[in-house]
Symmetry: C2
Subunit: 118 residues, 2 copies
DNA sequence: TCCATAATTCCAGACTTATAGAATTATAAT
DNA sequence: ATTATAATTCTATAAGTCTGGAATTATGGA
């Protein structure tokens, strides 16, 4: 993950409509949501929403796939996680005390598996 | 942590000079760095840097304190962590599989304490 | 007081982003 | 072919951001 990709992702999420879109898509994984329904649920005109979805796509945070007349959008959770990792590693590397409480906070909601093998 | 505060923080970090500043300040904790030295190290004019520092301050990511003629800037790691927590909790709540690998990735660099007590 | 240093604020120009109406493209049903 | 639905692209406007020169404020030393 390069820092330019991180900046793109941060900029994409630093806008209320787009943050709402991403949260909606995360909550609707893995089914995804058609563009029109996203626009309807968030009460934003379809063309405006299309512009926002394009920003999220360029940032790598969402992917889309046509299904008949609809275009289904889904959150790219792996990309999101790699952005978070980049950001946290930066401070974690030098400052373990930053990440320790965060890990402690996150651990209860995540299955206590053994360390990743990838 | 409200979502408006998160958007402010994301917007502040979604700019290369400011991301560099924040990384520099994280690496220089807890001593901090005077404004002029930040500008010099990142090769940015003092007034331009001042504008960036002001954005980071409004976003709650840095704090400053005058020491004689210098103004010392420091990263606010707690605020940064609460931004990260907000973002991750959102996906963690619905999608544990997102956070599990991240926690696994972060754990090795952080002391394996028992869960937080705050 | 006078000067030097450190940082900020003021200001203007160039650039980018957010928004949405109108037009267009793509798909499917009749 | 015609019509309807779903989404995007075109275009324009309003608003916001990034940048840095010039002026200003704050501090400290001679």
């Amino acid at each position: 993950m390069e820092s330019e990709a991180v900046i793109l992702a941060l900029a994409a999420l630093a806008q209320s409509t787009r943050l709402d879109v991403f949260r909606l898509l995360v909550s609707r994984e893995p089914a995804g949501v058609p563009a029109g329904e996203i626009a309807r649920e968030l009460a934003v005109p379809a063309n405006t929403m299309s512009a926002h979805l394009s920003v999220l796509t360029r940032a790598g945070l969402v992917r889309s796939e046509r299904r008949s007349r609809s275009i289904i959008y889904r959150a790219d959770l792996e990309h999101f996680r790699s952005v978070a990792t980049f950001l946290l590693k930066d401070c974690c590397g030098g400052r373990p005390e930053v990440c320790a409480p965060l890990v402690a906070d996150l651990t209860p909601c995540c299955p206590p598996k053994e360390p990743a093998h990838g």
